[in-house]
Symmetry: D2
Subunit: 359 residues, 4 copies
Amino acid sequence: MAGNSFGEIFRITTFGESHGKGIGLVIDGCPPGITLDFAAIREQLERRKPGQSKITTRRKESDQFELLAGLYEGKTTGSPLAFLIRNEDQKPADYDHLKSAFRPSHADFTYMKKYGIHDIRGGGRSSARETAARVIGGAVARQILQQRKITIQAYVSQVGSVRLEKTPNQKDFGNIEKTPVRCPDLKVASTMIRLIESVRKEGDTIGGIVSCRISMVPAGLGEPVFNKLQADLAKAMMSINAAHGFDYGAGFDSVLMKGSVHNDPFIKKGTKIITKTNHSGGIQGGISNGQDIYFRVAFKPVSTIMKSQQSVDHSGKKTTVEGKGRHDPCVVPRAVPIVEAMAALVILDHLLINNTLKP
Amino acid sequence: MAGNSFGEIFRITTFGESHGKGIGLVIDGCPPGITLDFAAIREQLERRKPGQSKITTRRKESDQFELLAGLYEGKTTGSPLAFLIRNEDQKPADYDHLKSAFRPSHADFTYMKKYGIHDIRGGGRSSARETAARVIGGAVARQILQQRKITIQAYVSQVGSVRLEKTPNQKDFGNIEKTPVRCPDLKVASTMIRLIESVRKEGDTIGGIVSCRISMVPAGLGEPVFNKLQADLAKAMMSINAAHGFDYGAGFDSVLMKGSVHNDPFIKKGTKIITKTNHSGGIQGGISNGQDIYFRVAFKPVSTIMKSQQSVDHSGKKTTVEGKGRHDPCVVPRAVPIVEAMAALVILDHLLINNTLKP
Amino acid sequence: MAGNSFGEIFRITTFGESHGKGIGLVIDGCPPGITLDFAAIREQLERRKPGQSKITTRRKESDQFELLAGLYEGKTTGSPLAFLIRNEDQKPADYDHLKSAFRPSHADFTYMKKYGIHDIRGGGRSSARETAARVIGGAVARQILQQRKITIQAYVSQVGSVRLEKTPNQKDFGNIEKTPVRCPDLKVASTMIRLIESVRKEGDTIGGIVSCRISMVPAGLGEPVFNKLQADLAKAMMSINAAHGFDYGAGFDSVLMKGSVHNDPFIKKGTKIITKTNHSGGIQGGISNGQDIYFRVAFKPVSTIMKSQQSVDHSGKKTTVEGKGRHDPCVVPRAVPIVEAMAALVILDHLLINNTLKP
Amino acid sequence: MAGNSFGEIFRITTFGESHGKGIGLVIDGCPPGITLDFAAIREQLERRKPGQSKITTRRKESDQFELLAGLYEGKTTGSPLAFLIRNEDQKPADYDHLKSAFRPSHADFTYMKKYGIHDIRGGGRSSARETAARVIGGAVARQILQQRKITIQAYVSQVGSVRLEKTPNQKDFGNIEKTPVRCPDLKVASTMIRLIESVRKEGDTIGGIVSCRISMVPAGLGEPVFNKLQADLAKAMMSINAAHGFDYGAGFDSVLMKGSVHNDPFIKKGTKIITKTNHSGGIQGGISNGQDIYFRVAFKPVSTIMKSQQSVDHSGKKTTVEGKGRHDPCVVPRAVPIVEAMAALVILDHLLINNTLKP
């Protein structure tokens, strides 16, 4: 209800603030007998980590996690897994200047309106640090999906007006981690990086788009009415900080299309029925059809900028918010592993839900 | 889990197929003491009804609903409300030709893969008729929201490439119901209508966009992590048949913006703190800030076209699907009340959830 | 939340009042491909029906149900099943005398306190008529359990001080439906019947106990912490009108036992590991162990008596409630199918939940 | 679903095993602005702690808890609270002898059947240590209830055949913590203690009953159908390790009563409507009526005994389980704070749920 849990069967509950003792999560409903690959979890956390490159914030965070529960002789037992990432020492003084000003487009104002109290240090639960917990949950989910050969690959397809025009193929995917911007086309990537650097120098920020492809999802996942697969993916993605838009398949572009063009004809390939085109993005009637699922997530520019901004304090009196600290000029490169994590959670949950059809 | 329910506190559960006895819904968690306005429910059903104009399907459906439970002396009692709309006599023969062919971009294939059985008559639960139940639920929710002065207004902002460029104001809203296409600009509306008619003549279909504005939502609705207000709105909208995209506030356009432009400065107006611009679409950190909430939903072209299409039968053998029956050339005009209904369900649910903050 | 739904995967939502249009239920999460046996549903409703014998209320109710949705060519499709039982014409005048008096130990007072409004006609949702919907849900669940050879048999083991001392065996179970009191020992049954008749003549009511045995439940059902199998059975049973107590296995009697006596030693029988005794009632650590599950439900005497009772009206002024109408002198014979129905819902739900352990 | 969470709005999720890193819990849905009283939490943990007296196990456990998240300047913020209790160093060798034997009436067999893997060290999640997390959750809930003057008091009313005959009054409650057995009658308490000591000397264990009274609950809590207040209390209590029975109000004794005796007449006292008797245990139609709520929980004798027991190993071969270690001869004195904690969770959750009735 208060919404710190996600998923119905494979269900994560996250907790923690960026300036308290730490952040963490509990995973309930993890199948037993899974050998946890800790290195794989660490790898995903590295991809999300601040300070990983010159185009992300230079702020450093500890991402050392500790497993608190749920493993026996290296394997999951069916009991809840719990993970904790301790925060490093914080200097609380840093945030004193924010105590009386509402930062534009941050959650300060809305939290105060909702709760009558707000942990201003690092934004409390609205801190992007919360997504580290999601990444751990997604990394666990992903290991289970891999046993079923299901793979999830996100990448940056747009930064500001710099856009990847071509749909990348499997080979292009090999380039994603080669640049800090995580765009599979190395040329476009370098243009994106230049743009981000110039925006950073201005003390400003810029938006972007993360695209994602999920392959080898078996046909039959998703529930036909309210819990359509695209609906649950949309919720998952729109719950990520700064996400302002979601579409799947032909998405917003399908608006321009006629039915005779958009419809995906069924054909037989070998012993399998597939579709000739895939404007449906692998989902029809809310249920996966076995083709690649693909979708996009639009991110607004990060709210924290290094420029003075007009605002008001708690009493409504005019004040100025000064940009301080070290923040991301563009969030999308670091959003890539978060988008993948949320996608993994949705797909695994639907895989397990689908098992309840047989008595 | 099987996903025929929506909402946590104000919770609807829908049932029924277009070719069974009827469709209906149960509303659990409706506050007591509400005088139900049946005419208002009927009005919303009329807006969704097929056959209402020359640009919608000419198929006729009965939308006579019966209240089965939950009212005493005209008022809700806190017990579940249940509504039933009976189907009129169906001619089952109509669908025999579909028994062995998978219609392109319909749910036939995915339902068969998921359930091993599929009520082909009218598409079973994938039928758009299911949305009549949502409209009833939304109409009830809306009556409760109106007591709090919260209003919800959706309209068609794009059909194919015909686009409403201007953001409509309150006065423009008066035009929405004046044309069957539900675009608040009468000139743009007539261009849209001409496009839909020409598409219909071709036996084809076309996509479009529904935009929606919710006004007078109090600050504080929405939960900060997974159940962000935009996340629940996204899920609600993406659960509507044919929806392929969702964005809110500046949405996909925010990708192009810099933080210094996108950020909404706080200012004082009278005794209230408001924002000068509203690129955030009335939601910050997942929580409403008291400004107008606005979002868009992109719809693909309807899959049922009046043209021959290549496909395969259940065994994978090539076959042709012939377009038959009477279907909508463009779904967006009729999607307007459905978008409003789903928005009403989300906002009311979050209003009630917010009441649980105080012990 | 408002609690008109039960179950997580196989989930029923009931609606309706005894004096409105009717009562009914929606079943979400029913596996597809099940051939529904309507006669078996009718048989369970007959067992619950008022007016079935001289020891139950002579009031007649229609129990003709209509299936509204979810079946295709005789089989479930995975879509929600919906059932409706219409009420017969009611004489609303009957209840006018109750409008201002709170009936002792009825829900009139608490509903009024909770909702500020109360459908006095037949008690609204507190009417025992609501349980007819549960019986339908249970009858469907049972058909699915039977495919797995799981059987559920409840019976009356006590009425007032008349008690069945012996634990009945399979042969005794053949006697249950031979008498209207549903006690498997015919001698004890006739003593119970005489007691109920004498209580009825006094215009009074009497309590009793329903015992239940579930056989052939596979080992492994139930979740180890909060959703222990006995916890979910307890909730299910205590949600039945007039239920005041629940125990399982040795139950309250285990209080007197020493561990060395209560513990059930494991032994091998053929290729199976079973327990020598079964004080655990087939559940250990919250999870079924493959032995028979057995439990008891204690019912208080029905609150409606044919005697004058002192009470107060809505303003708190003293008044007298007169006994009117036709009510059950003892509820337990008719509670037998309700206990079985609730047990079937719990066991089937846990069977389906257990399927989510394997990815 | 996997059932490590409890509550709908005020929702705890527990994790951890007795022989892993530690145990803990996350509380989601805690209202903001509550000043947490850590001493009060510690006090409840002390009451549950092993080794507190000569009639409990002499095993020592660390109950030092750490708050990981959710507090700002001493107050709750509306964000999840997370607590961790680290385990002290464990000697894993202790459990080697159990690796191949199923202990009678423990969860070894059922966990192995369910999960195919079982953390034998301390019983994994079936360990009573898990209840420490519940006690923390309950202690937080209780602080919020106290602001509403709601008090919860449990006590031991029976050990083996030694029974407290008299219903204790407020004055007697002062005696509860005076003896380690927590019976409010000091004479009966000393008889109970003698019995427990003699049972301990035999290496055996004995069952007992915990009774509980909740005072000052406002009328109106509980939902009328499946989530009746007594149903949720029953589930809560039956989810406690070793609980084998639950009743409320006149409970199993009401079976013997006639309606004319059992019914609680309404009377006016001052400006309040109360009931003259309280056989209903403060709940009518599933909803609290403002009178004291009282109920009983029956506990079986603890399964771990210091005697040799016959059993089988994983292959089904006969073996002997030797009693080792330090365990409780009677669980009920330490169950008292656990019963109170679960009651606090149920009542607070229903208090918050009830707030959703008003839009």
